[in-house]
Amino acid sequence: VLALAGCAKPDPDASLAPGAPALTKITVQLDWVPEPEHGGLFQAQARGWFREAGLDVTLVPGGPNALVNQRIATGQADIGQGESVTTLLDVQKGLPLLQVAAVFQNDPSVFLLHADNPVRDFKDLNGRKIMARPAWIFLDYLRQKYAIDFTIIPFNFSVANFIADKGFIQQGYYIAEPFFITQGGAPAPRYLYAWDAGYDSYGVLIANRDWARRNPAALRAFLAAYIRGWRDYIEGDPAPSHAALKAANDKNTDAFMDFSRAMIVKEKLVVGRDAPDSARIGRLDPARYATQLKIVEDLKLLPTGALKVSDVMTTEYLPAP
Amino acid sequence: MIPPPLIHCQALAKRFDPAGPAVLGPLDLAVAPGEFVSVLGPSGCGKSTLLRLISGLLAPTSGALTIAGRPPGTLDDLAYVFQDATLLPWLRVEANVETLLRLRRVPATERARRRDAALGLVRLTEKARAYPRQLSGGQRMRVSLARALALEPRVLLLDEPFGALDEMTRDHLGEELLAIRARQAWTALFVTHSVAEAVFLSSRILILAPHPGRIAHDLAVELPYPRNQETRRAPDYLRLVAEVSARLRAVEPAEASAA
């Protein structure tokens, strides 16, 4: 911890010193505009830990059309942040993708409901209207598992309808949307968690498979610094990350970032809900991937046996536990 | 008792370009009901401008103008045969002839009757179903004339209605015009370039001089109505034609002075 403090103010010219080895350039594609969901990355970047590891990392903001997996596949980014189950399908389509580390042990996409909504569990969703991304595989999973159906309204990145309509149900990142909902005058919403239905997907870092194979050392160094960034962000002072996030996206208010970080911490999203300590930051569990593959196979989104766990993920670039 | 003039211009003047010279007037004119006034004058002297002022399509720059004691453009019983045929290209000949009647909301049967009569008069009955673009130039002008006549107006403004027609059709239509006039008693202002026609048809002839347009001569035609082929051989008629011709020729051509 003392060592960390010493590095809080990196010397920006260190890399330019004559004879210093050239930094390895890494481009990271974010899935959305910079927000605390990218807190670890920005913390590591702000603290200079990537540079320290010999890396020159560029964080590319995403948006409604981030195309993370496509940009990684086409080599426009080396690494990107995304969601694990969807990525399985992309791998099957031939995109050279490899999941290399967890961002969130549980993907924070949940259903948001008003507290007094009569819907109590997934079965009650039958016949309801839900605003969600139509391509969210969890929806197919629900229909199959509970033999229910519901009407999907395409997700439009807005919580206006939720605030205005007491019966409204929508998908949301529960580390972000609830903030805007309460700010908009509505009471704090209730959540239905996907994992409670047995749908346990990760928020992940995805790398270009070929790039990873050619740059194992850089990737390892990157992941080590990245995990260090997350740990520092949730256990230490988030100020450097928040300052960087604000610089990258001026719509980030302190109140919002504090809320979002608090949710990440409270819900143990990064460390894992059942983990005793922070040792599981970034960890991926092959067993969970087997479950995820089974889910998409059962949904007929993937031919049975088309992919093995080792085709989609690896833990070899993660630092030793 | 002299009837009040139907068309009454006092110091009427028009200039298009506020900075430029006047195109017409100042001009004084009183036309009594029932008069058939021919207007002669060189090209560009202001004949059409005069008719457009009287019809209310143009506003005078200065001077006063009343038709039947009312401001121009307020009289329902006025028809104007423009210098161009201005048929509506999307209507068949029959519908074009009915256009003005339709604007007056004349009932359909009455409209059809008047339309057929007018088409017969201009000898275009067989072209009733044709579109304007299938007509010859002269046929188009005749449709335009039929459209005005179908209105059975009180005041008729005619701007060279026979310009595109052969002599026989001209004579025929001239005689028809006089026949209708005997029945319907309208007042006409008739622009033409044919002196013989002017003399044959009208009770009064105005010769306009250009730069600016003004009345150079105002001649009464004292030949008795009804007029017919006899009239065309009458010595009075021939004398008048010669006189009007000479006076018209004495008026300088519109642009000659500048050329």
């Binding site: 997996n69 496509q70 596949a73 086409t74 080599g75 969807t86 399908l89 992309d90 389509k93 031939g94 995109l95 050279p96 209207k129 605003m131 991304r133 139509p134 391509a135 159906d149 519901f150 009407t151 999907i152 309204i153 395409p154 439009n156 807005s158 206006a160 309808n161 205005a164 309509d165 989104l301 | 457009r52 019809s55 209310g56 399509l57 453009g73 329902d76 006025l78 028809a79 104007y80 423009f82 161009d84 201005t86 509506l88 290209p89 999307w90 256009t99 003005l100 339709r102 604007l103 007056r104 579109y131 304007p132 673009r133 299938q134």
Partner: protein, 263 residues
């Protein structure tokens, strides 16, 4: 070769070139990006696999396109007549109509979902908003572009304002109106598709082309995405053909754009 065949030839040749170019482009791409631009066989396969789903989605979108289009045509005709009726009305109202076109759907979407509810009615409304304006601009310009000589005729005939509008300006504006309709016909399916993913809804696998496209896109089913686009284009072409037929019926007898070469 018959002259008729000869006239048919260039479009056919061009179509052949187009398809060959398509296939060539696919193969010219670096392997890693080839997935972005499916080959023709891939496209054909997508049609086979997703055919029924696409057909169903096309049905939804076709209805919405037609609904939005018809609504736009009617309202635009009315609005244009109003706008053309006086300079005053035009100066006062035109800015608001322009504003209507310029309001981003992103603002309209939540309001529609709240008040109208997601699904067909909202999709029709957004399609209407997208197709409406080109029609108004064109029709209004047509109504204003009447020949002065014809206006003089109607003024001379002491036509009432509404007579001038309906008997003169309206028929004279038809060529402009149909030009607007042609634009609207092309915008309608693409508008309905866009509207579908903004304010549409899907349940039981039934949705319009927009949500279908969204699904294909999010799941990286690129051939399916292209197949969706092709179906959307087909709708557009169908609508344009209908409009062209109507334009022919209304104009060929008298308008100069339809003059046969020999007359």
């Amino acid at each position: 070769m018959s002259p008729r065949l000869l006239r048919r030839l260039p479009p056919l040749v061009l179509a052949g070139l187009f398809l060959a170019g398509w296939q060539g482009l696919h193969h010219a791409l670096p392997l890693g990006r080839r997935f972005l631009f499916p080959s023709l066989p891939q496209l054909a396969e997508a049609f086979e696999v997703h055919g029924p789903a696409l057909l169903g989605a096309a049905g939804h979108t076709a209805l919405a396109s037609l609904g939005g289009f018809a609504l736009a045509a009617l309202v635009a005709a009315g609005a244009s007549l109003l706008l053309a009726s006086s300079t005053l009305v035009r100066q006062a109202l035109y800015p608001y109509l322009m504003g209507l076109q310029m309001v981003p759907v992103i603002i309209v979407a939540p309001i529609l979902i709240l008040w109208v509810g997601p699904g067909a009615p909202s999709v029709i409304i957004v399609t209407f908003l997208i197709t409406f304006f080109p029609l108004v601009v064109n029709t209004t310009q047509g109504l204003l572009s009447v020949e002065q000589a014809h206006l003089d005729l109607f003024r001379m005939g002491r036509a009432a304002r509404w007579q001038e509008l309906l008997l003169l300006r309206a028929p004279a504006a038809l060529p402009y109106f149909f030009t607007g309709l042609r634009i609207a016909a092309i915008l309608a399916p693409i508008g309905a598709l866009t509207a579908d993913y903004l304010v549409g809804s899907t349940s039981g696998g039934r949705s319009g082309l927009g949500i279908t496209a969204l699904l294909f896109s999010a799941r990286n089913e690129i051939p399916g995405l292209y197949a969706t686009a092709v179906v959307g284009c087909a709708l557009g072409f169908a609508l344009v053909s209908i409009v062209s037929g109507l334009a022919w019926l209304a104009l060929h007898r008298w308008h100069d754009s339809y003059t046969p070469s020999d007359s």
